[in-house]
Symmetry: C2
Subunit: 336 residues, 2 copies
Amino acid sequence: MYETLAVVGATGAVGRIVLEQLQKRDLPFRKLKLLASQRSAGSEVRYAGETIKVGLLEPGAFNNVDLVIASTPDEVSADFAPYAVKEGAVVVDESGYWRMDPKVPLIIPEVNPEAVDKHDGILASPNCSTTQMVVALAPLHRAARIRRVVVSTYQATSGAGLSGNVELNDSVRSALVGKTHPPKTFQHPIGFNLIPQIGSHKYEGYTSEEMKMVYETRKIFGDDEIQVCPTCVRVPVATGHSESILVETEKPLSVEEAIELFNGFDGITVVDDLANMQYPMPRDCDGKDDVFVGRIRKDISSPNGIAFWCVSDNLRKGAATNAVQIAELMMKQSSK
Amino acid sequence: MYETLAVVGATGAVGRIVLEQLQKRDLPFRKLKLLASQRSAGSEVRYAGETIKVGLLEPGAFNNVDLVIASTPDEVSADFAPYAVKEGAVVVDESGYWRMDPKVPLIIPEVNPEAVDKHDGILASPNCSTTQMVVALAPLHRAARIRRVVVSTYQATSGAGLSGNVELNDSVRSALVGKTHPPKTFQHPIGFNLIPQIGSHKYEGYTSEEMKMVYETRKIFGDDEIQVCPTCVRVPVATGHSESILVETEKPLSVEEAIELFNGFDGITVVDDLANMQYPMPRDCDGKDDVFVGRIRKDISSPNGIAFWCVSDNLRKGAATNAVQIAELMMKQSSK
């Protein structure tokens, strides 16, 4: 049983949505504890009609805590997760730090729920750009075995947290009056611009964000033979990551089969009517929990390819919603 | 000899840059005539220190005109080009109307200059998204024969003319104060949003803009076996189309070979230093005539692939500059 739940990073862009999702999904815990680093500890947060004071994230904070949902930078997670586990808590972590650790399961509840059964105290939620892609790929992989994915992303500024959106607004406002707002969160001005770099150089000309899409996809599907060629690009959109995806499968799929597979999968909504200008767009997916797919068509450059367009709220399914769903799944398992 | 040059659509987004390029490149004509449709005829335009009155585009307007550079919508070109040719002019057309006509050569001077030699009075300049891609692909194709291209575009609002940029600004300003500016030029609000549709439905789920990238690429290279899978997306950027390109060649190319080929090709500038955050971005390419490439790396999902990022000012190499270069090439040929 998980009686006491702690939310770490409760005041951040993702943490706020974690709290909203906990209420919306009505998770069966008795006590809620909020924790944050020095900067935000001491502040007060409203939850279910009550005011909760945010405690400091420090050793000892997890005594009597059963389950943790954490949205922090990598280095914060590297530091606190070990002592949280030692103090008896199980940690559902949204940072990138633990994801590729062989002892840590990497979970999307609709895709690999069985992975929650085996862990050493830490479970990880995938990177935002990976999560929405893997949800969309899952039904195609089950039906036709995916061999290769070529993906180009159009990633929102909120992927960099609240400061990303502040910088987008400042950058756009400055550009509108012919000025340049000096970038801090991003490498270059993002207003009316594109930045083809997310993260730092990682492998053979690919960035860390790009290699997450390669490694995490393989780990979640448990298939190291899936080839992924990613290009990750930051765009001047506040919320909602978009992805142009081309997938090659072992068994060819028709467009009709692909649409049927998408429609039959939990967590995917198909919006696909080009003649009537209907397809997923960031402004329509903001605040929604599903992964949206559209522009579904045969790849006209290969016999076994399907091309499509995929949008999802990166703070929700890409982060908060998926982590809360992992916690929900664990609570269900433990109450069996 | 081409003594009198006419610029049709001289007051539009592209027409203005055509005039700028004519001066910059110092083309050897004696007389300049400016023409536009009813709405803009009668206005005055400054050129080389003189004021030129814009004449009306109508039958008879091309008597004594030798060469025409035209930037108009398709339907305007369909109407005027035949009578311009009948009146004795040769038309370099930037619209989409004539490009796929078997009697009309489709030209990028760096790629297929020989194509200007054979025409029936009309020569076409390719679509903006095609032009920059084909320039970037040309050296790779010559060295290693391209078999397949997967491309996702990030296209600027100026591709829809001056009204596109006005709408981008209005849409962004409205969104900043929590309002929605009703779209007219685009299908949906473009401020802080992405629209995965450019043009209308054309073929099997692909848009007209996407199929231009397929058909025009094959025509320019004279190779109908090149397979192209395009996804065209409008982004909230004013000027500069960007493209995430994956190319598969018959002969494998190393990254070093690809960079050397790009560097050796007229009209391409390589900006490629991820460690120092250097790569092409729309804000750096605005107002420049070259095609910029960066993020050049091996495709980690196929043995013969190269992935790269390509940016160019869509009003310049993607339109005005290429058309003026075609005119320049014809003037050179005729003076031989």
